[in-house]
Symmetry: C2
Subunit: 505 residues, 2 copies
Amino acid sequence: MKEQIAKRLGIKGLEEKVMTASEAAALIVDGTVVGMSGFTRAGDAKVVPMALVERAKNEQIKIDVYTGASLGPEVDNHLAAAGVINKRGPFQGDRVMRNLINTGEITYVDAHLSHNAELVRQGVIGPIKHAIIEAVAITEDGYLIPTTSVGNSPIFADYAENIIVELNITHPETLIGIHDIYVPGEQGKREPFPITNADQRIGTKGIKIDPAKIQAIVISEEPDAPSLIVPPDEETQKMADQLLEFFQSEIDAGRLTKELMPLQSGVGSVANAVLDGFANSDFENLVVSSEVLQDAVFNLIDAGKVRFAAATSITLTEELQQKVYGNLEAYADKILLRPQEISNHPELIRRLGLISINTALELDIYGNVNSTHVSGTKMMNGIGGSGDFARNARLGIFVTKSYAKGGDVSSIVPMVSHVDHTEHDVDVIVTEQGIADLRGLAPKERVPLIIENCAHPDFKEQLWDYYNRAVEKLGNVQTPHILEEALSWHVNLAENKTMKKEVAK
Amino acid sequence: MKEQIAKRLGIKGLEEKVMTASEAAALIVDGTVVGMSGFTRAGDAKVVPMALVERAKNEQIKIDVYTGASLGPEVDNHLAAAGVINKRGPFQGDRVMRNLINTGEITYVDAHLSHNAELVRQGVIGPIKHAIIEAVAITEDGYLIPTTSVGNSPIFADYAENIIVELNITHPETLIGIHDIYVPGEQGKREPFPITNADQRIGTKGIKIDPAKIQAIVISEEPDAPSLIVPPDEETQKMADQLLEFFQSEIDAGRLTKELMPLQSGVGSVANAVLDGFANSDFENLVVSSEVLQDAVFNLIDAGKVRFAAATSITLTEELQQKVYGNLEAYADKILLRPQEISNHPELIRRLGLISINTALELDIYGNVNSTHVSGTKMMNGIGGSGDFARNARLGIFVTKSYAKGGDVSSIVPMVSHVDHTEHDVDVIVTEQGIADLRGLAPKERVPLIIENCAHPDFKEQLWDYYNRAVEKLGNVQTPHILEEALSWHVNLAENKTMKKEVAK
C-alpha cells in the first residue's frame, strides 16, 4: 500500500502530510465553511467526515457544508445525524438530512447547481476554511486529480484557505485523463468557453493546486456509495416509449435528426429508464451532455448508441461500478467529467441546444412545475440542475407519473404548491398517460393538453371542473384560477389523505 | 422627399417596390404569422399596421403577431382593438391589448424575450409569412438598417417568406452605424459569441437581406410613440438612494468596484429613477448592458457617468427624443443596439456579470416574485426580459413599492399568486421601506429581512402573524405555509377591496 500511495503522490514532501482521518478531522475549525467534493454520491469525501462524526461525540462542532450536489451517507446521513451540519447547500437527497432540514435543525440553501461557484467567486459563500476533496492522485506537475465527480471541487480548492485530500486508492488510476477542468475567470474579465461540441476538451487533466495549501492527506479505500436507481416498471417504460415516439415525430417534422441533440437527463430511476429506452431505438450517434452519467449511459455506449458522454459525475449501481471501473480504458475516450459550473452552464446548454429531461414532483394545468417541496412546505431533495437545464435547453422536458401514494395524489393539480420551473420554462410534459407538447402555447391552450394527455383518469373530471368553474367565475382571463380553491387539493390531502374530491365533501 | 427616399434605397430596382401603406396592407395574408419590428414602443412598424386597421373595417382578417417586445399604439392598441390579432407574443404593455387578452379575445404567449428567436429557428414559431420591419435605409451592400430598436427583426427577416419594409424618413440617417447585428447559427453548430465587453461590436451594421424577398416598401414619417415614464416621486427616489447605498456597501465589502458591473434596468419609471440616481453618485465609468436605453441613460452619458450603453432599443420621452435624435453624432460612439437574443442572452449576461434591476408586481416572504399576473389571474404586461436577466445576473435585484392601491394592497404577501421568478433567482429586494439582501440565505432566513426591511408598516404584523402561525402549525419545515390561507390576502382583496385583515373579519 505504501508503494501505491507514493505512486499517487507525485509531489515530493507531500507524504509528510499523510495522516489519519481522525487527525485530519481534528484540524477542522468549528464554525467555519467547508467545501466538500462529491456529486450525487460520487467522488465525495468519506473518511474525514466519518472521523468528524466520531469527534462530534465528545465535542460540540458545527460547520457549513457546501458540495457539488448530494453526497453519500457519510455526510448527508451520518454527519447530519451527528448534529455537525449547520448550513447545507446546494443539494441533498438523503432521508435523514431531509428530516433534519424539515425540523429546522439544518439550514438548507437549495440552489441552481451552476450558481454556487459564482457565489464563491463573488465572496457571497465563504470564506471557505477547508476544502475536503477526494482525489485519485496528485501529479508531479501539481494537479489534484478528482475521482468520480468534479462538482465544485475546483472552485473550493481555489478559494479554500487549506485543502484536505482524501487520497482514494480504491478508485482506479485509470480515472486520470477523464477529467476536463476549466475554471472561468472573474465575471467581466472572462473569455467565452471555447466549447462548441459536447466531446470537446478545453481544460486540464486535474485541478491545479498550490501544494502549500494542502493541510492533510488521508488515505481512503472507501468506494462510492452505489446509486439507488431501480429498474423501470411498466409505467416508467411507457414514459420512455412515449418520449422516443415524440423524438421520432420531431424528426418527421424536420426539427431534429436521428442524432437528436445532446441529451441531459436528471438523476433517478425514471430518467435512467428513459435513457435505457434508447437501446432499442433507431436513434444513433447520440451524445450525452449532462450532470450525471448513470448506468443507462454506459449500457448505451456498449450498445454503440451513445458515441460520447460528458457530465460532472458518474453514479452507478454496484453492478455497473464493477463493470465500468474494472474496465475504464474501454470508456476513456468516450467520456469526460467537467466542473458543474461548466456542465450546467447556460452558455454551454444553449449553445449546444440540449434536450433536457428532468423529474417533476407535481405540475399544474398551466405548466408550472414543483420539483422540490412536498405540498409546498417540506423539502424533498432540491432543484439541483433542473433549472439550469430546463430554461436553457432547446427542449425542456419534465417527466412524472400522473399519480402518487397509490392513487390518492394527483401529480397534476390546479395550482402547484411551490414553483421551481415557471410556465415559461416547461416545453413538454410526459406521464405514463401521455405527452403534452406545450411549446408556443398560451396558458389556456395548455390546459386541455395537460389534462387530457397527462392527468390520471381518476382526476381528469375534477381538474376540468376546477378549470371550468374558474373560467365561469373570472371569464377568459390569461390564467383562470379560483384562489380560494387553488391549493385545496393539497389541503384535502393533508386532512383526508387524498386529493379526491368525494372524500373532501 | 423623392430624393431622400432614393438616397435611402441603396439597391437598384427597389424603388419599384415602393407602394402605399394600404397597398402593402392588402398583401398581408389572412391567418398567417407576421413578425414585426419594435421593442418597447421604439422602431416598430406603424403605417402598415394602421392601414391594416382600415382594411379590417371591410374584411375579416386575423393574424398572429410576434414582435421584439411591446409596440406603440398602432399595433398593441389600434390593431388589437380592430380584432386583427389572433395570437400575440412575446410581450405587450398596452391597456387595450391587456383587456383583450384578459377577455380571451387575444391569445397571449408571454415568454422570455431571449427565447423567441430560438423558437423561430427551431420551427416552433412559424412559418412566418411576412416580416414588417421599420428601417432607416437599405444600403447598397444589401443591409437593411433598423431604426431605434433591433429586437427580433434579424430572425424575422431571415425566416419570413417576404419582407415589408417601412422606410422611415423621419428617423435620422445618423442611426446608420449604431447597430451591431450578430445572428447566432443553429444550435450545435454555433460558435461562442465573441463578446467580452459590453462595448464590443461583433456583427454587421445592419440586417443582411435577400432583396428578392422584399415584397413592399412603404414610406413612413411617423415618429416613435414617446415613452410613458414619469419623473421620480419621493418614494422611487428613496428606492434609488437605498440601492446606491447598497452598491457602496458592496464596494466597501470588496465585492464591487466604483465602476460596478454592467447595468441592466427594466423598463419603467422606477428603473429610470434608479438610474437617474447615479448622476449624483460617486460611481464612475459606468457601462450599461440592457434591453432598453431610457432617458436616464442619455442623461448619465451627458453627465460623464456612463461611458458606454448597449441595448436592443432606445425608448425616450418626447423631450429626450428631440435632444438625442437631433444630435445623434454626439452619442454614436457611446451606444449600440443588438438583437434582443444577444442583449438578453444568458451567455452574455453571465459572462459580463451584470447587475440587473427589474420591477416586481408582488413578492412573498420567501422571495418568490410575481411580475405578470394581477392576483394570479389577469395579465398585466408580461415577464419580458426579467427572467433572462435575473437568473443569470451577478446581482438580480427586484424593486417595487411596498404597497399599491393607496395602501390597501401589500406588495409583500404570504405567497405570491403567480411565480415568474423563483426564490432561487432573487438576490436583492428594494422597496421604499428598505432593502433585503437575500444572497446565500435559506427561505426561513429571508423572512425577517423581507418583512422587517421591505414590507409596509401597515402589513408587518399581519405578515409575521401568518408566518408564526405557519411555523406553529407545521414546525420549522423548509418553507412554512398555511395552504388554506396562503392566498387569502388576494381573496380578501377581491371580496373587500383590501388586503388588511381587520376588514376580512
